[in-house]
Amino acid sequence: MSQTPAPAAPRADHQQSVRLRRRAEARRTGGSILFHAFALAVVVVILYPAVWMLMSSFKESSEIVGSVSLAPTGGGFENYAKALEGIGGISFWTFVCNSLILAVGSVVGILLSCSFAAYAFARVRFRGRNLFFVCMIATMLLPFHVVIIPQYIVFNELGMINTYWPLLLGKFLATDAFFVFLMIQFIRGLPRELDEAAVIDGAGHPRIFFSIILPLMKPALVTSAIFAFIWSWNDFFGPLLYLKEPGMYTMPLALRLYVDQTSTSDYGAQMAMAILSLLPVLLFFFAFQRQLVGGVATQGLKG
């Protein structure tokens, strides 16, 4: 096609790659229907337990176990009414409030303490930084069981059992290294020229952090806040250790108490309560799925 010999070689190359790509594309559209059929089948299998749980919450208890079918059998909202009655005289909303206090407290603590630490690691040069960085990474891999016994002993001595202090203190002291790491990675991606310009203007580290870095960190803060909220909301082990009085219980503890107290056959109300306790997590998921999945993709966070 081309008369001039010089560009002929690259163009032929180009044509071959176009042909290859087209052939690949044709194969792709052929396989595309197959792909979507398979991918949707996986979606069905994956979401089946969740949908089954939702549908069961509208069924009568006798019809839940053993039923493969998803169609509700006219149990209506009875199960939810039962779940909302609360447990042993304690209102359902008490548990919601307790969980909310802890979740919001965790978010505030993590955003403050972890962004400070992340700024120090990412932008300030000081003696010992590399050593501490290694320590911080190591705490991410450390099984936390090695610290809970002495922590429990100390909190017990301080009379803090059955309070929220043991569950919140660590959040304000940046013990969740995952969030520090996530924020460090984000700050490292910000152009250094911004800091340097501020230094020339006579700004010190506090001003650089509060008026330049912190506002720019918003995406990382949003992702961290969502994860912090969900992890706190789902946390079971911490509350199980420290909260002894049902009036202090969070949703997961209340759910467990509910399952223990209701006769084992009352699955309908259990499912309704399980749904209610997952509801905030599901709402966060539908509202922020992009940030959540993006956060996992870039940081390798565990969900």
Partner: protein, 315 residues
């Protein structure tokens, strides 16, 4: 050259030192919440639990030093050995299956532009809710008695489950919990997908031109280029798997049963420490866990040198 002149210039050197001092002060100020947390809630307690592991301590009377006795007792404690066995089986079978599923689905999704976002989110959802008490209760309801899993199994000709369904059958509780972790393949899948995006398409095209089929392209292009991500996922998922607690606790009603088939390591540690208040013994268990997890991580790091390729490595 320039450096030496600056260093010899006393005025500049002093200015530099002052700025370095200021920087150090700022660094420690910003780091202080983390540093206090690290010393007070991580490093300090680690040392304390190491000490406690050599003592007999029940929280009410002062700890008495007993040397290595806790560790010696571990070796003959049949419950401990059962817990170690159950946890090891869970790690060894659960993690590879989960990662294989994650990689397979990631490769499938990677080739399709359309709908990728939707599928990615849908597959990720279980990772977000899978560790919750709610899902553990649902899992139990699905596998109990003549539950839906037993029904489906019978359709495919599986032997009917014993009394209590899978939940009551000591031989099936572990597979049931492994299924629960495999169900949460979404998080590593998302990480694999991000890794696959980094693999340049030219490499696949070049391999195709050279006549490499899909299998060879997988082993010779995908696996080497994805190996850092594979290593990262393997390390984190393995460490994570050692620490399974919530689902086993809920499904066994806080008992580790039936027949101790769900007596995972952390469950037994919890029983010893916070039910029996044998703080010394539980601390010894915690330190054994740290050593085992550390050793496994070390072995993974060692082995990674032979199979993980970082780009620009082999030139």
């Amino acid at each position: 050259m320039a450096g030496t002149t600056i260093a010899r210039d006393p005025v500049r050197a002093r200015a530099r030192r002052r700025s370095r001092d200021r920087s150090t002060r700022a660094g420690y100020a910003f780091l202080s919440p983390w540093l206090i947390g690290f010393l007070g809630l991580t490093a300090g307690p680690m040392i304390a639990s190491l000490y406690l592991s050599f003592t007999d301590y029940n929280l009410f009377t002062a700890p008495t030093f007993i040397g290595l006795e806790n560790y010696q007792r571990l070796l003959t404690d049949s419950n401990f050995l059962q817990a170690a066995k159950v946890t090891a089986l869970y790690v060894v079978f659960g993690t590879p299956v989960k990662l294989a599923a994650a990689l397979a689905v990631a490769m499938l999704l990677h080739n399709s532009r359309r709908g990728q976002g939707f599928y990615r989110s849908a597959y990720y959802l279980p990772s977000l809710i899978g560790g919750s008490v709610s899902i553990a209760i649902v899992w139990k309801a699905m596998f109990i008695d003549e539950g839906i899993v037993a029904r489906i199994g019978e359709v495919f000709g599986a032997a009917p489950a014993a009394d209590g369904g899978w939940v009551g059958d000591p031989g099936r509780t572990l597979p049931m919990l492994i299924l629960l972790t495999v169900w949460q393949f979404g998080a590593p899948m998302v990480i694999f997908l991000a890794g696959l995006k980094q693999v340049p398409t030219e490499l696949y095209e070049a391999a195709e031109v050279d006549g490499a089929g899909p299998v060879r392209r997988f082993w010779n292009v995908t696996v080497p280029l994805l190996s850092p991500v594979l290593f990262f996922n393997l390390l984190l998922e393995t460490i994570h798997a050692f620490q399974i607690f919530n689902s086993a606790f809920i499904i066994s009603n806080g008992s580790g049963g039936p027949a101790q088939s769900t007596l995972f390591y952390t469950l037994y540690l919890y029983f010893r420490g916070f039910r029996d208040f044998q703080m010394g013994y539980a601390s010894a268990m915690a330190w054994v866990l740290v050593l085992v997890v550390g050793l496994v991580s070390l072995l993974l790091f060692r082995s990674s040198k032979s199979w993980v390729h970082y780009s620009g490595d082999d030139k």
